[in-house]
């Protein structure tokens, strides 16, 4: 039996709006989000902007706490931190790669000081020489060699790809078991994306971590992960093995997403999009299925109640009454 690295059960996160005009309303960023990430596995969370995927990562990293639902990491239900050491221990285990390699490295610090911090904060180095060796080791792992060319430089002296590698090195420095990668390549130039993605796959093999890989790119999700969960307007619409979900999408939204994604290799003949429109407001999400205003197969009952995320066999779940 494979162990579960991470499990979410019915997690809800709403952000209250505090302005006078919208008092009492809230942004429904995550509603009834449930999934399991196997130990050593990789799960892609795919969705458009505003679908709640970054909120999901932040809730798992506990940058902010969920409103309700269960979050289970390594078999242990997450409870409020009682002291700093509990919080540190959790954050050591669960690390987050941020999207923007330009914004997430302090421009006034040298690479050495940026990379030292996780070792110092978590007390992972045994003296100065051990720290130095570990810094070199981690730079080597992300393909930045020789290390002395990088350690004493500032972030602005590095290219976007190199900065993202530093960012990833920092994530792996603490020796996490779960890595949450929030669109790690979306801000990089196309020609260097593959290098970073391949490096992440190698790092995963070598360090035996589990990935939650957040992206809006279905093809990239397929490249990186064995399981895919597609989110729409704060809810998971379909989850299953990558080959099943992409090869034979069941939910109308997933079909739409697939038909909109560029796939020049599949013969260049395109069918027109079945649905138009954009993601609904999450302040007042549609009653019933959140996709129903755009769904080409909508039925009256879709407008009444939120469909359940139903098991359709083969480890696959779909949130649609028509499937």
């Amino acid at each position: 039996m494979s162990a579960k690295a991470l499990e979410l059960r019915g997690v809800v996160k709403h952000f209250p709006l505090r302005s006078l005009m919208s008092y009492g309303k809230s942004v429904h960023a995550m509603d009834d989000v449930s999934f399991t990430l196997e130990s050593g596995g990789s799960l892609a969370l795919v969705g458009e902007s505003g679908s709640g995927k970054t909120t999901t990562a932040s809730v798992i990293a506990r940058l902010y706490e969920r409103d309700s639902g269960e979050l289970i990491v390594d078999g242990e239900p997450a409870k409020p931190f009682r002291n700093r050491s509990e919080s540190l221990a959790y954050k050591r285990k669960v690390q987050l790669i941020f999207q923007d390699p330009f914004g997430c490295l302090n421009p006034t610090h040298r690479i050495r000081s940026i990379l030292e911090r996780p070792f110092l904060i978590h007390g992972l180095a045994d003296g100065a020489s051990d720290l130095e060796a570990k810094l070199r080791g981690i730079l080597e792992q992300v393909g930045l060699t020789p290390a002395e060319d990088f350690l004493d430089r500032f972030p602005h002296e590095l290219s976007g790809g190199q900065r993202q590698r530093i960012n990833i090195a920092r994530t792996f420095a603490a020796g996490p078991s779960i890595v949450l990668a929030d669109e790690p390549t979306s801000m990089l130039d196309v020609s260097i994306r593959m290098g970073v993605m391949n490096m992440m796959l190698d790092l995963k093999e070598r360090n035996g971590v589990s990935y939650l890989y957040i992206t809006h790119d279905l093809a990239g999700a397929r490249y990186m992960c064995t399981t895919i969960a597609v989110m729409y307007a704060g809810m998971i619409m379909e989850i299953g093995s990558t080959e099943d979900v992409i090869g034979q999408a069941l939910h109308p939204y997933v079909k739409l997403l697939k038909s909109a994604s560029p796939a020049p290799e599949s013969g260049l003949t395109r069918t027109r999009l079945e649905a138009k429109g954009e993601i609904p407001s999450l302040i007042a999400p549609p009653v019933g299925c959140r996709f129903h205003p755009r769904c080409p197969h909508v039925r009256p009952e879709c407008r009444e109640a939120v469909p359940e995320l139903r098991d359709v066999g083969g480890g696959r779940k779909v949130r649609c009454i028509l499937v």
Binding site: S191, A219, P262, L268, E278
Partner: protein, 323 residues
């Protein structure tokens, strides 16, 4: 016989900086036939936006056209005084800018902005201009009652459609689009592309579509030009370029997008990073990153575009070539 809409010959343009002149567009030549959809693909800093700005003659401040010609409507736009270019701008050639959020004035309603474009170039009454704005908005599927809306009241996709409506309101012959869909989600992006194709069939204008997303361009373009470090390295019919790329950079780019269908293979992208345009490599600019580099590649001057088929040309010593 296909009529030529635009011919760019040996165009060089760039920016004066404190460190010297950066030639962002270096000896670029291409021909756009009437009604054609031409894609220009390249990574950030390759000069693709500078090329668009040069054609529109909206390079400002420290940027200028150095040499070359831009033949459009029987005139050389590169050497024409600005006041003679003015009457052609927007009436004959128009542009859709990358960020609709920043390109639209936040304190004017979209109706005012659309009619402004008309009044600037045509002697029409207020009612006539408004009529044109409504007709154009309907073409891009935006309801006429949105005329009184302000940009912040529209979604990202709608704003971009307003930009398209504004660019097309005077029925130009040439539409230049600079990364018009980059900030948009895939479904919205696809619906906008479908809209442009539909309008192009209806109105018969030519399109230059600039983006870094090659997988998208391959599907929608008739012709494709690949830019690298200020130069066009390969051009030809989009499908041919996709199925049999000649230039190692084009090959690398095609190998930078994971596929959505078909067998999963590890792809490598391109190693290294683009050169600094202040001091580009003396020979072929791609040589430092090229997996097939040979001594001849390092000799100055680098290879120029040489026809390598009926409608294709490529700038590489390994392909046809003049060496």
């Amino acid at each position: 016989m296909a009529e030529t809409a635009l011919e760019v010959k040996n165009l060089s343009a760039g920016y004066a900086t404190v460190k010297g002149f950066v030639r962002a567009v270096d000896d670029v030549s291409f021909t756009l036939t009437k009604g054609e959809f031409m894609g220009i693909a390249g990574e950030s800093g390759c000069g693709k936006s500078t090329l668009a700005y040069a054609i529109m003659r909206i390079l400002r401040d420290r940027a200028r056209i150095e040499s070359g010609s831009i033949w459009f409507k029987g005139k050389d736009f590169a050497s024409l005084p600005l006041e003679d270019v003015e009457p052609h701008r927007w009436t004959d050639m128009a542009m859709v800018f990358q960020s609709a959020m920043n390109a639209l004035n936040p304190v004017l309603s979209i109706g005012e902005q659309l009619t402004d474009a008309v009044h600037a170039h045509r002697q029409v009454t207020k009612a006539e201009a408004e009529g044109m704005a409504v007709a154009m908005l309907e073409l891009v599927d935006i309801n006429a009652d949105r005329l009184r809306s302000y940009p912040h009241q529209l979604s990202g996709g709608m704003r971009q459609r307003v930009m398209i409506a504004m660019a097309l309101i005077l029925h130009p012959d040439l539409l230049i689009m600079d990364e018009p869909t980059t900030a948009l989600d895939v479904v919205v992006q696809r619906s906008i592309l479908e809209k442009i194709e539909e309008l192009q069939t209806k109105l018969g204008f030519s399109v230059i579509f600039i983006t870094h997303d090659l997988s998208l361009l391959v599907e929608i373009s008739d012709a494709l030009a690949i830019m690298y470090a200020g130069k066009i390295v390969e051009c030809g019919p989009a499908r041919e370029l996709f199925s049999s790329p000649s230039h190692p950079y084009t090959q690398g780019l095609m190998d930078s997008f994971p596929s959505l269908t078909g067998p999963m293979v590890r792809i490598e992208g391109i190693k290294g990073k683009a050169p600094d345009l202040l001091s580009p490599p003396p020979g072929c600019r791609f040589a430092p990153r090229c997996p097939k580099v040979s001594p001849a590649c390092l000799e100055a001057p680098g290879p120029g575009l040489v026809p390598s088929g009926s409608r294709r040309s490529c700038a590489c010593v390994l392909v046809g070539g003049d060496r």
